[in-house]
Symmetry: C2
Amino acid sequence: MKKLINQPNDVVREALAGMQEAHGDLLTVHYSPDFVIRANSPRKGKVALVSGGGSGHEPLHGGFVGLGMLDAACPGNVFTSPTPDQIEAATKAVNGGMGVLHIVKNYSGDIMNFEMAADLCRDGGIEVEAVVIDDDVAVKNSLYTEGRRGVGCTVFAEKICGAGAEKSMNLKQVADVCRKVKANGRSMGMALTSCTVPAAGKPTFDIGPDEIEMGVGIHGEPGRERMKQMTAREYVEMMGDAVVSDIPFKSGDQLIVLLNGMGGTPLIELYVLYNEFAKLCQKKGLDIARKLVGNYITSLDMQGFSISALKADAQLLDLWDAPVNTPGLRWGM
Amino acid sequence: MKKLINQPNDVVREALAGMQEAHGDLLTVHYSPDFVIRANSPRKGKVALVSGGGSGHEPLHGGFVGLGMLDAACPGNVFTSPTPDQIEAATKAVNGGMGVLHIVKNYSGDIMNFEMAADLCRDGGIEVEAVVIDDDVAVKNSLYTEGRRGVGCTVFAEKICGAGAEKSMNLKQVADVCRKVKANGRSMGMALTSCTVPAAGKPTFDIGPDEIEMGVGIHGEPGRERMKQMTAREYVEMMGDAVVSDIPFKSGDQLIVLLNGMGGTPLIELYVLYNEFAKLCQKKGLDIARKLVGNYITSLDMQGFSISALKADAQLLDLWDAPVNTPGLRWGM
């Protein structure tokens, strides 16, 4: 294993320290338990948003802490759920009296620990709602997951709900918007290579020099099929069809799209892929109203990509366009 | 070779088409000859900035076209200089009557072709100045280069000179600021793995499973030394010392820092590395006044990183902080 780290067990904490050094104007890192909160938290009179999950998906979630997005992120060990005490402490630290929304990706450990933390916070008098994102159309049930996995639409949920909270929505309204994102967003990914978890020291899965994993999960979980490698166009047609035909999206729909790199994919390839997805949408009469191309929810050093698409009405587009100022996403500022 | 592409020869043009689809609000792609210009060019009454070089370093340069940065970028084939006709056409397309600055990375082919294009433009009555960035302290003379290679400080030059042009500096003043960046910026990189050029189909260089290339160039050119792998702290100390001791930077100096990923390096590792560099600077009394952590000048899928640092006075900091709105860098908007 070749990695740019010191000791495998120190990676998460040292990366957090690096985030503090790099983005101390936007966020503050707390240790024992570990969590990242927006600078000058709590915000009185604003619904607070908390998310989290295993580390290794950066910039998700810590890189999305800041104005117009998350109030707190709870980083677990690499690919490991954060503990209830992390989530409880983060929730209490950012509670501004208007309640807290937990945005949870659908993994069994994450759900269990967020639920325990929510119960502890409610016992302490904090109103907590939780929405579970489960947008991955690749497989139903998976390693770590009952039902569909939660992946790229989490970025949409964090951005859009964060804007809603800034616009003085109450907890019920922010949670309703999150449920709208959950209902209208779909994703799928693929991998050319496995990621390597630092503490494991070897690739999570074996894959041949001419093979790809279609429908891979963000921790390297098996997808739909092990296939021979194909062209960018063929990958996008296969995944794009699966994503847009699931609800389905219909001709004339407006979409917010994320063409996402898995961490080890060069940007030049992401643009080649985005070009194919734009053509596919045009053919189907789908209007890409907003888009992101880059690394937003990654899997360590995995080479691969995912497509996420959200059917967006005027409310979702308006919240998407609202100002955001985080390490990973910034506009309107 | 596993890549997310269609045909190797189509990668650059299809990526340009993807950039047009993704960022049509900011830029316009022209073909035959190929170049990228800021939307609604030329800007009358503003000095124009043109840069370019081989493709494969995205977001550099096309991703830095937009308000407050480049007016045009000329993408060559992967790791291949753009041709004089590309540079000439781009220069003419963005000339707003106040002259054009060419920002050139120090590679023999780039210099020759930018010089030919500048002569052709001058023959056409356009005032052109050129500044060659040569910030890589790793080696003197290299494959493709006489003198030091031009690498990460090009990002500083494009941002800072772009801001100067927006602030109505004349061509001489913008070129002087560019020379100030050139004189005060230094960089060095390393690689864990080789990149693979699509048309070559195999890694540019061989490297063992426990080896690294210290001082690597952005095309995979040999560096100072082939070494056994070490820790993030040791890499940063070796490279950071080389970067800050070259001019040298002195205790009390204010720096603008770029901790840059080579394309295949996960963000979590870049934060671990940035944490080490922040500690090194603190030990040396250097004040990191501004910083970027991420992929800004890449080498396709290479795993590795580079450190760039610019000694910044009040003028350079002010220009750095000015608004920028490009696909790859955005703030103040």
